[in-house]
Symmetry: C2
C-alpha cells in the first residue's frame, strides 16, 4: 500500500507517518500521505457452548464490548499475539486457534486486524487486568452474540457485518455456527 520509496516523516508511540511523490494521470506529481500502525489480533474464545467477550472500561471513556485482543509486538507473529492477549486479558487458553478474518479498516492506514476463533478455551489462570482498564468477561450464547450487531458499543464493525448477515440468512447462520462450534 505505501510504496517502497516513501519516506518516514514521523514516528509516534503507535503511529508512523509516511509521505511520497506520485505521478498522476495528467503527468503532474502530488505528495501523498499514509500511516502505519502495528497489526492487531483479536480472538473469539469458544467456551463450551458459549462465546467469551469483554466489557472494557478505560478512564474517561464509555464502556465498550470487544473481543480479547491487542497489538502485535515487534517481531511477534499473529498466532503468538492471539495466545498472549487472550491469556493476559482473560486468563484463558484455547486448544486450537483458527484464523477467521483479516480486515483492513482504513485505506489511509497500513493496518490489518486479524481475528482468530479460539476453540475449546479453558481458564488457565485468574484474570490479571493491566492498569489501564477494567475488564469484565461476558459469556454469550450464539444467539446473544449475533445480537451484538444492535449494540452501538460493540467495537468490531467488520464482525458486526458478518453477524448481521447471519441473523437474516439461515444458510450463513448455519455456516457460522459450524465454523465456531464444529459440526453437530
Amino acid at each position: 500500500m505505501i510504496p517502497t520509496h516513501a519516506k518516514q516523516v514521523f514516528q509516534g508511540i503507535i503511529f508512523s507517518v509516511w509521505q511520497w511523490e506520485q505521478q498522476m494521470f495528467d503527468g503532474t506529481t502530488k505528495t501523498f500521505e499514509k500511516l502505519k500502525r502495528p497489526d492487531t489480533v483479536n480472538v473469539l474464545p469458544v467456551v463450551g457452548d458459549k462465546l467469551l467477550i469483554l466489557k472494557l472500561k478505560q478512564p474517561h471513556h464509555q464502556a465498550v464490548l470487544a473481543l480479547p485482543g491487542g497489538r502485535c509486538e515487534e517481531g511477534e507473529d499473529f498466532l503468538a499475539t492471539a495466545q498472549r492477549e487472550l491469556l493476559e486479558e482473560t486468563g484463558y487458553e484455547a486448544e486450537k486457534y483458527a484464523l477467521w478474518r483479516s480486515f483492513q479498516p482504513e485505506e489511509k492506514i497500513e493496518w490489518t486486524i486479524h481475528t482468530y476463533i479460539g476453540h475449546n478455551a479453558t481458564q488457565a489462570q485468574s484474570m490479571a487486568a493491566d492498569n489501564g482498564e477494567r475488564i469484565e468477561p461476558l459469556l454469550l450464547t450464539f444467539e446473544e452474540f449475533l445480537l451484538l450487531t444492535d449494540d452501538p458499543n460493540f467495537r468490531h464493525p467488520d464482525i458486526a457485518h458478518v453477524l448481521l448477515r447471519a441473523r437474516f440468512d439461515k444458510s450463513k447462520r448455519d455456516e457460522l455456527h459450524t465454523l465456531i462450534f464444529g459440526r453437530k
Copy 2:
C-alpha cells in the same frame, strides 16, 4: 476525544498527531496518542428514481465504488463541503441536502464522516475530474444500491451495514426508501 491538554507532536498533510499523559485506575500515568484529520462529507445524490454513485480509479489502486465526497476545507461547514464536492466530482447540484448519518470510524482518530442525501439532483455542468483520479458516474436503482453490500470495492462500511439491514428487513427497507425518495 483528544483532551484539551494534549500536545500536538506532528502536523502532516492530512493527519496531525497528538499525545498526552493520562492517569490510570491504579494511579500510574501513561502517554496516550491519537490523531486528528479533517472531517469528510459524502453525498448520496437522488436523480429521479435513481441514485448516483462513482467508480473511482487512482493510479496504482484498484477501482472503488464510492459516494461523491471529500474533505472539509479549513473553516468550511459540512453542507458547503457537500455542495462543493458534489459539483466538483459530478457536475450535479441537489435541490435539498438532508444529513443522513454521522459516523466516527476509528477510536484513535478524531474524524467524523457526514453523509447527506442530496434530493432532486440535476446536472448543472459537465463533469470536470481533477487530475488525481478517473471518475465514472453510475446511476443505480434502489435495489442495485442495496446490493452494494456484496461488493468488496464499495468504500463505505457504515452505509453497507445500513443497506444490509434494509435488504433483510422489509420495514427497514421501506423506511430507507421513504427517506431517500419521499412518500409514494
